[in-house]
């Protein structure tokens, strides 16, 4: 008897025999069939042949800084820019590339060097701005890619591209692809979970949408399940007032018995799948609250994440929940932190954004490492594009804004399969063009899949007569240099 069947059988034997003998006996027979149904229908298994090779990571945590963090004020250190303060961006650098219409009408493009100090961290001597002191402490764990570039210049298409490999809505998101390919390793939780923590008041928060975690053309069961910050993390999760867990168990037993009566007549295996889904719903009703219950975490762990860890919906707490999800077998956790769209008042807004997230990011890496989970978990950090070196609107020594810049931006990766302490790619003195080792977002996605044991070229789903890939039709490549 397999494990699933065993636990189901155990449940049947120990549950109170409430609805009489008939139901009970049917229930046991049914459970045997249910185990089968689960194996063939309900809980998704890996596709045959997958993973394509030995995976370095079993799970992915994607920390998405929505809105586009400024690379110039975080990781892309340009000390020589100070002498260009307030001067026009040289046309040779701008090169006639397209601009967003928010600044394309500006008469001048005055260079705004970062007002923040940078210092070196770790054995690798990585330069990190003073906005990210905690991230500085994990400098040796992360690989920073300075030469990421994307196709889109506005938020909506850029995010859609980042997560689905296409600017056009309707494709499958990366987490859905992973669930589809590798299946689920959690019996009690969905394999792809989305977290949407709160962000600082006053920052420019853009919308996020279901399509960023939808399954697109893949079957709907591979869609991400967005846990909410407030009220119930999963829609319709709690029983109504006046119905307790014991009541629910009994009601589900009755429902199962009635459905088994039907199944005996028409023999449609979908009925057994549906019975199993009701059982999974019952398990979710306890596994999700258990997930959110942090009372079992040690003080040392909680301290790592900082004082915000107690606040529901905070970024710090979401990072801890992300670790708990991965610990419980969830494949992909996609975390959306909003408010990084600093068109004006960048120093203040970006300062708030970094303060809100810095400790949580670093704590997540440290926590995973302490538990020996970092080797098997891939963590990715970054936005949908970067920001311009020239100021949007007024420029002073202390205040400036930056427009969208898709031509180069910084992302970092850590954990399963990635070499810590390295930098990859280089930009020109203005952080405006890539001069070395460009990494297209499709390359980044190919690399993520590679760490999970998937060859992106062979990872295909047929839709509308075409071989769909996360990485699209143009050739893309795994960034071998950052792999451990």
């Amino acid at each position: 008897m397999n494990e699933i069947l065993k636990s189901a059988f155990h449940r049947a034997m120990t549950r109170r025999n409430f609805f009489g003998d008939v139901g009970f006996k049917l229930g046991v027979v049914a459970l045997a069939q249910m185990g089968l149904a689960q194996r063939t229908q309900a809980a998704p298994l890996a596709l045959p042949g997958l993973p394509h090779f030995r995976p370095r990571a079993k799970a992915l945590i994607y920390l998405h800084m929505n809105g586009g963090p400024s690379q110039l004020d975080t990781f892309d250190y340009k000390p020589s820019l100070q002498e260009f303060f307030g001067k026009n961006l040289p046309p040779t650098i701008q090169g006639g590339q397209r601009l967003s219409t928010m600044t394309s009408g500006q008469k001048s493009f005055l260079v705004a060097p970062s007002k923040f100090q940078f210092r070196q961290y770790g054995e690798c001597g990585r330069w990190v701005s003073d906005l990210l002191p905690f991230t500085g402490k994990i400098a040796d764990e992360i690989a920073v890619i300075k030469s990421v570039h994307t196709n889109a210049i506005n938020h909506d298409p850029a995010c859609t591209f980042l997560f689905t490999g296409s600017e056009i809505p309707g494709k499958a998101s990366i987490g859905s692809w992973i669930s589809y390919g590798l299946g689920s390793t959690s019996e009690n939780l969905p394999s792809f979970v989305v977290l949407t923590p709160k962000w600082p008041a006053g920052s420019n928060g853009q919308a996020i949408y279901q399509r960023l975690w939808n399954s697109g053309f893949l079957p709907g069961k591979y869609s991400g399940v967005a846990f909410r910050n407030e009220a119930d993390p999963v829609l319709y999760l709690p029983n109504p007032q006046g119905v307790d867990r014991d009541d629910r168990r009994k009601l589900l037993d009755a429902l199962g018995d009635l459905n088994h009566h039907r199944h005996k007549q028409h023999r449609d295996p979908d009925t057994l799948t549906r019975i199993e889904q009701y059982e999974m719903a019952f398990r979710l009703q306890s596994s999700v609250p258990e997930l959110a219950d942090l009372s079992g975490e040690t003080k040392a762990t909680l301290d790592l994440y900082g004082p915000d860890v107690d606040k529901p919906g905070s970024f710090a707490q979401s990072c801890l929940i992300a670790r708990r999800l991965v610990e419980r077998g969830v494949r992909t956790v996609q975390l959306f932190h909003r408010g990084w769209d600093s068109h004006g008042n960048l120093p203040k807004e970006l300062g708030n954004q970094c303060k809100d997230t810095d400790q949580g990011c670093a704590a997540l890496i440290q926590d995973l490492k302490n538990r020996g989970m970092l080797d098997e978990t891939l963590v990715v950090w970054g936005g949908e594009f970067g920001r311009t070196v020239y100021s949007q609107g007024g420029l002073s020594k202390d205040n400036y804004g930056r427009d969208h810049h898709p031509r180069n931006f910084c992302m970092w990766m850590a954990g399963g399969g990635v070499k810590g302490g390295i930098s990859h790619g280089e930009t020109d003195d203005f952080s405006y063009n890539i001069i070395e080792k460009p990494v297209h977002l499709n390359d980044l996605n190919a690399t993520i899949l590679h760490c999970l044991g998937i060859d992106h070229e062979r990872f295909i789903y047929k839709f509308q007569g075409l071989d769909q890939r996360l990485t699209g039709v143009e050739p893309s490549k795994v960034i071998k240099e950052i792999l451990a």
Partner: protein
């Protein structure tokens, strides 16, 4: 050895095709049915239509290419001569440098596939034009000698002929109660009432069923039911999508759709008015309103967006929607490059785009208007004297915009050496002689006999609506990568009947043919004898059981609770929704950031009237597989998930319905067995079996005991929903019955139509 993913798929496809097309050793192979799928899957990406990807100057998609010589000088395919055919040699090579397809393509031919190719070459390697691009001709209806089952109309003749060839037969007719539930859902989206059920069971006349069909087709609910599917195709929503997702007012167009189905507006008019109603001579306001179809796409008002980029995007969306809805082609592929599999060039895409990019629209930033120009003030066609709303429509600019092929599909890279002029795709023939060179001319061409696709694509989508799967499974792809029809003759017969039969272009006529066929009326019981021969039931030896749609599940609960509002059309409504769903994701400045629930009867409108916010669609609808309406969708692949279970168990509306269903049951029947039977039958249209009654009765008794001892819990439970139950009912008893009703509403028999 582990085979690659694609090889597995390929073999699987072949096995399926093998069964369905009965590629028996004694049957002559047909290129379109048997061979083209193999070549398309394995060869065309390098040796096909796309000249840029073509390797070694060699193509296998046309006979001239295949019968020619390879670079080596060898003849590629010599009809009738395996040994003289280079293709045969190369697919059997063991040298990885030589073998086709090459290892790096990750494609591999199975022995069965090779055998198929060998037989085809031996039989003369005949090529055929792709079937879907040849206009349909009405085939003869097969003569069925000594039928084993009723043949009610020509549909059955085609289905039975095919079943007979596979050694199968139709199932017997479904029980009457089952049949009435099935057809009532299919034609109205609701279950039958007990009165309707009793009347039908009592009616012993031979045409009792046909009279039920006529009654249902005449119901205003029919138009609502049909409209739901069209709203998916037309990507209808009540917001603009994209970042701000502001509100728009398009619902008068939605009502135009309902009215069109209820009036059985001929489908050619339905197409012409939606594509080019504004261009009709003396266009009536309703005909202009119909063109809102072309404006249902998403619209961005994000600051910093580039006008040329988005205006191009909207025009491309119109082309893509038109292509999927009316041609069943994946035109968006040739936005960036020539189609890899179908004979569609980039010029074809931009030739179509040129019809749709010359309207008087302007790109707007940071505006939250309910409609962007061009728009009209329109009332609902269902209530012409009712309030008016601004609705976006089509209005042609004075002069057509010069259009060029865009390199790699980039809006800012027009290739000035490749101007695109308005015309239908070359492979589908020339523009209609004498037709205007605008959207009206395109629409007239779409509905003309020259277009081989419209009637086929439409009847196929109708077939899918009733049987779950199309005769062509790939309802969105009739191109070469699409699936070959299981019943090509039936598809063509239906297409021709639709276009020029007893009632030309009458959707209702085709629907009636389908639901009065013996094929539709048969039992859905799974047959052990069929499982091996036709595991997917593509040959229809039984009626396919299907889970109800999202709208049907919600509407059914409201209906059996006695709550449903039968008001037709009107502005969208805001029923129960868990709090915070809009607020937590919306853009700060969106005018759909705050969800304000409706009051009163608006809570109980049919689901198609629920306000559709595109970035956060109604959760109950999404959970039950409704698309998000951001792009044309012609299928809703059903899923079976735990979130669905939670929704029907715990959603406030579901619970309120259970409460009022319980209350009316307590009022309408005096004893427990009668009440249980009533509740079960009202919801499922079935009489419960003894075992069912026993399970329910045991459950009820324990629930009664539980709520009698904790009346506070009963009172808490009864607070679900704003409509109270009658005050004279005993609270613990009502609470117990409410959970029995909730259980019945969650039965497989309730959620499925079989």
């Amino acid at each position: 050895m582990l085979k690659t993913l694609i090889t597995n798929r390929c073999i699987l496809a072949l096995i399926t095709t093998g069964i369905l097309s009965a590629v028996a050793a004694d049957r002559e192979l047909a290129f379109n049915r048997d061979i083209r799928p193999v070549l398309s899957e394995n060869c065309f990406s390098c040796h096909g239509f796309d000249s840029k990807q073509r390797k070694a100057e060699m193509r296998l998609d046309i006979a001239e290419g295949a019968y020619g010589k390879a670079e080596s000088g060898a003849v590629i395919i010599k009809p009738g001569d395996i040994k003289g055919s280079e293709l045969w040699k190369r697919i059997n090579e063991t040298d990885p440098e030589e073998v086709m397809p090459p290892p790096k393509s990750h494609k591999k031919l199975s022995p069965e596939t090779k055998n198929l190719l060998r037989r085809w070459i031996e039989q003369g390697a005949k090529y055929e034009k792709h079937w879907a691009f040849v206009p349909p001709v009405r085939p003869a209806v097969p003569e069925i000698r000594n039928p084993q089952s009723a043949i009610r109309n020509p549909i059955d003749s085609f289905i039975v002929e095919r079943l007979t060839r596979a050694g199968l037969s139709l199932s017997p007719e479904a029980e009457k109660a089952r049949l009435l539930r099935r057809v009532t859902f299919d034609l109205t989206g609701l279950p039958p009432t007990l009165e309707e059920l009793d009347a039908f069971l009592a009616d012993k006349t031979p045409d009792a069923y046909e009279r039920q069909v006529d009654r249902l087709l005449a119901s205003p609910r029919y138009g609502e039911r049909m409209a739901v599917r069209w709203l998916d195709v037309a990507r209808y929503g009540d917001t603009n999508g994209y970042l701000h997702d502001h509100r728009r007012t398009s619902w008068p167009w939605r009502d135009w759709v309902i009215k069109s189905y209820n009036d059985d507006l001929p489908f050619d008019r339905f197409v012409i008015e939606q594509i080019a109603g504004d261009l009709l001579p003396d266009a009536k306001p309703e005909q202009v309103l119909a063109t809102s179809f072309c404006r249902n796409h998403l619209i961005t008002v994000e600051g910093g967006t580039i006008a040329a980029e988005y205006l191009n995007e909207y025009a491309a969306d119109r082309v893509q929607t038109m292509g999927t809805a009316f041609l069943g082609l994946t035109l968006n592929c040739c936005r960036c490059h020539d189609h890899k599999f179908d004979p569609l060039k980039q010029e074809d895409f931009y030739g179509l785009l040129a019809y749709f990019n010359s309207i008087t629209e302007k790109h707007v930033e940071n505006s939250n208007a309910v409609a962007y120009a061009p728009h009209i003030d329109a009332a609902s066609p269902l209530a012409p004297d009712g309030p008016k709303a601004k609705v976006m429509v089509m209005q042609e600019a004075e002069t057509p915009k010069p259009t060029f092929v865009l390199s790699r599909g980039q809006y800012d890279l027009p290739d000035k050496t490749r101007p695109a002029s308005r015309r239908p795709p070359h492979v589908l023939g020339a523009p209609l002689p004498g037709a205007p060179e605008n959207r009206l001319g395109l629409a007239q061409w779409l509905v003309s006999p020259q277009n081989s696709l419209l009637a086929r694509v439409t009847v196929n989508r109708l077939w899918q609506q009733f049987f779950g799967t199309g005769l062509v499974k790939s309802v969105d792809d009739f191109g070469m990568q699409g699936e070959y029809p299981t019943h090509p003759e039936l598809l063509d017969w239906l297409a021709v009947e639709f276009r020029e039969g007893a009632k030309p272009w009458s959707v209702r006529h085709i629907v009636k043919l389908i639901v009065t066929s013996a094929t539709y009326r048969q039992s859905s019981r799974v047959r052990a004898d069929v499982a091996a021969k036709d595991p997917e039931n593509r040959l229809l030896s039984r009626f396919p059981r299907q889970r109800l749609s999202a709208e049907e599940i919600r509407d059914q609960a409201i209906y059996v609770a006695g709550l449903l509002s039968e008001e037709l059309g009107g502005a969208p409504v805001f029923p129960y929704q868990p709090p915070g769903l809009w607020e937590e994701r919306a853009n700060e400045s969106s005018n759909t950031k705050v969800y304000k629930r409706s009051e009163g009867r608006a809570l109980y409108r049919r689901s198609l009237y629920t306000f559709w916010k595109r970035t956060a669609p109604p959760p109950f609808m999404s959970i039950f597989d409704a698309p998000d309406r951001t792009a044309c969708a012609v299928r809703r692949p059903p899923t079976n998930t735990p979130l669905q279970a939670l929704a029907t168990l715990n959603d406030e509306q579901s619970l309120e319905c259970a409460k009022l269903l319980a209350a009316r049951t307590l009022k309408e029947a005096p004893t427990t067995p009668e009440r249980l039977a009533l509740i079960y039958r009202r919801v499922t249209s079935r009489t419960p079996a003894e075992a069912d009654l026993r399970t329910l009765q045991n459950g009820l008794e324990s629930l009664l005991a539980r709520y009698r001892t904790s009346p506070d819990d009963a009172a808490a439970l009864l607070r679900q929903g704003v409509t109270p139950a009658p005050a004279d009912l005993d609270a613990p008893e009502l609470a117990a019955w409410m959970l029995i009703a909730n259980t019945v509403l969650n039965l497989e028999a309730t959620l499925v139509r079989d």
